[in-house]
């Protein structure tokens, strides 16, 4: 790694909205280097030695939490995981009290996931350390968008001028929102594909083109981002049946044929096979980068942890 390490111009990473092209490039460039490090036998560095990272998850998560944990450990931080189910929160301590309590323990990094939009931002105002949003309600999930961007850039060489289709349950998806912001900032063209009931109001104003016919929307696409159907957040009446949904919006080879021949498939996971994506397509390593996304996830999170602690580590 080069000796010159510019600092990151933000105290926290709360969302993609508000970042500049240069900020995003800085994260992805650094993450790219961490990919190489992660592929070596000795993956560990002592960059964050002595620093404490707390992963505070108010919502269940396995992969994102593990990815952050691994990222922190590979950089030498002391990583603590705290799972707070929302019900125990309701019983007593408020979010702000939790924040003050944790802050008193002097962590250097807080990685927070919460079921309510804006909750991570609220918490970030009450602590002195760097805060990374690991997903807040339907609002944002910035590291997911960054890892998607890294995956795309490594495969396609760039993000600008690519046509990216984000497909499925956009309404309930923070991943989609972060990706819409990121892809727009980086100069990609963003399409949304899904039934009108799963496309949020005013989506066009966020810089997207909306399609309700998947075949039409996929035409000429370089990247297909499938989203998980979040049935746990739906209470009736978004679409008639899973089989109708799969038939109209599930990605199979037939629909895939409408995209570019070398179109790349992404999915943030966990996948519902046979609901939003055909199992064979998902496992097709020539088309799908789903496993790669998981690998990029660790690298991107290492880059974020590195960048957000530069100032307190006295690195410039």
């Amino acid at each position: 790694m080069s000796t010159f390490q510019p600092s990151f111009p933000h105290q926290h990473l709360l969302g993609i909205e508000g970042l500049k092209e240069a900020d995003i490039s800085q994260i992805i460039d650094l993450a790219d280097k961490y990919v190489d490090q992660n592929r070596q036998t000795n993956k560990k560095k002592d960059l964050l030695e002595g620093l404490t990272q707390i992963n505070l998850f108010f919502e269940n998560s396995t992969r994102t939490r593990m990815s952050f944990e691994l990222a922190g450990k590979r950089l030498g931080a002391d990583v603590i995981n705290m799972s707070m189910s929302t019900s125990s929160i309701k019983k007593g301590e408020t979010l702000i009290d939790t924040a003050s309590t944790l802050n008193a323990m002097r962590p250097d990094l807080l990685v927070v996931r919460h079921g309510s939009a804006g909750a991570v931002k609220l918490l970030s105002r009450k602590v002195d350390c760097a805060v990374i949003n690991a997903g807040d309600g339907k609002h944002e999930h910035p590291t997911q968008a960054l890892l998607d961007a890294l995956t795309i850039r490594r495969r396609k060489g760039r993000l600008a001028r690519l046509t990216v289709a984000i497909c499925g349950d956009v309404l309930h998806s923070r991943v989609a929102r972060s990706n819409i912001h990121l892809l727009n900032i980086m100069g990609a063209r963003v399409r949304l594909i899904g039934p009108p009931t799963l496309i949020p109001t005013g989506a066009e104003k966020l810089g997207t083109e909306v399609f309700h016919c998947m075949e039409e929307g996929l035409k000429g696409c370089d990247i297909i981002m499938m989203l998980r159907l979040q049935t746990e957040r739906m209470h009736g009446g978004y679409f008639p049946s899973i089989s109708e949904y799969f038939s109209l919006y599930g990605l199979d080879y037939e629909k895939l044929a409408h995209a570019k021949d070398d179109a790349l498939i992404l999915h943030p996971g966990p996948m519902n096979r046979g609901v939003e994506i055909d199992a064979k397509v998902a496992d097709d390593l020539t088309r799908s980068a789903i496993q790669e996304q998981v690998e990029m996830g660790v690298a991107v999170r290492m880059a974020c942890l590195d960048l957000l602690t530069r100032e307190r580590r006295g690195v410039n």
Binding site: L95, S116, A117, G137, K138, R177, A203, K205
Partner: protein, 427 residues
Amino acid sequence: MNEVTLYTNARLLDPESGLDIKGELLTINTEIAALGIKVEAPKNAKIIDLKGNCLCPGLIDMRVFIGIPGEDYKDTIKNTGEAAAAGGVTTVCVQPNSDPIIDSIPHIEYLAIRAKNSLVNFIAMPAVTKQLEGKEISEIGLMSKAGHNFFTDCSSTIENAALMSRIFKYASAFDALIITHLAEPNLSKNGCMNAGDLATRLGLPGIPTAAETIVLERDMRLLKSSNCRYHASQITCADSIKVLKNAKRDGYNVTAGVAVPHISLNEYAIEDYRTFTKISPPLRSEDDRVAVIEALKDGTIDVIVSGHDPEDPETKRVPFEQAESGVIGLETLLNICLEIYHNDSIDLLSILAKMTSNPAKIMGLKSGRLKIGAPADLCVFDLNVPYRIEAEKMISITKNTCFDGRPVQGRVVKTVVGGESVYEYAG
């Protein structure tokens, strides 16, 4: 022994008669005794020089939540009275959602007893349906005959159209006014801000304007078969205004109100999840806000309310979705409304009418006008003085204002209730 006061050197503003002159006003005991350019005062009159400030009828606020009894920790009646007085509000219409709920004569009387020594008039606005449950009609007839012929289920919409239809019919027999909250329950459920691209960006569940408009449309349809007096408590969007306009043109007995935040703020005030801007109905788009001002100007909207709703700050120091709705507003009712006078959107008498003579007329109150024999409920304000609103300086205990730090022009300097001075700006 008569209590006689002569207010001199005043700009008298009476929206009902259109009076706007430099003059004097005389009160004897609890009533206005004379007014004009020059008033002949008895020798024993106490003379108060208003130094050219405006003198208008005391404000009537048709939508105030006090949560008392039941939630006395939020604020007290005494303190609410002081806040009202500081805002030039002389009559506070108390919403029925206290504990116990105000839905019968004993509850009305209970509030009257508790509010007896307060600085301003507290009028109970009883519930339309028993326990605010939207299932059975409360004793509208008995309460109307006892002088409380205005009813509201305050923050809930009566979902059952058949019941609503019966309410309109029944109420018409007692010349009762039915005041509605317009929010179709299924469309509003879980929502916490205006539906649209901003809600999408913030990842917050939205409430479409249709939630309001379709209830209003339903009610207009139901009113066709009764002659019930109807008042929509808060109108927030252009579509509803169209419906109202048509209803008024077609001769329906319909009036409508709007809350101050919907006049002065749009949904962008929420940006960064400011829970102090969370209200019900939610702040709408800029186009809707502009439509509301237009409707105030052309008379489609008759009343402005504060929607005063003290909420414990703890219920606001949580993520936006979980935060309680509601903002305080008694102390900022007039000065925020004056914004649209100062920016030439509406003339002074018209804006004052929405807080004085119009609510008085709709509710059948004697106050709200400068007229011989009317109650000496008065508001004196400096029309032009500029300053910033400071939440910390407010009298309301909970301080949950959405206007903290806002620069305004115009300040209440004196409030009189029943001939007695209840507030004096101390500087």
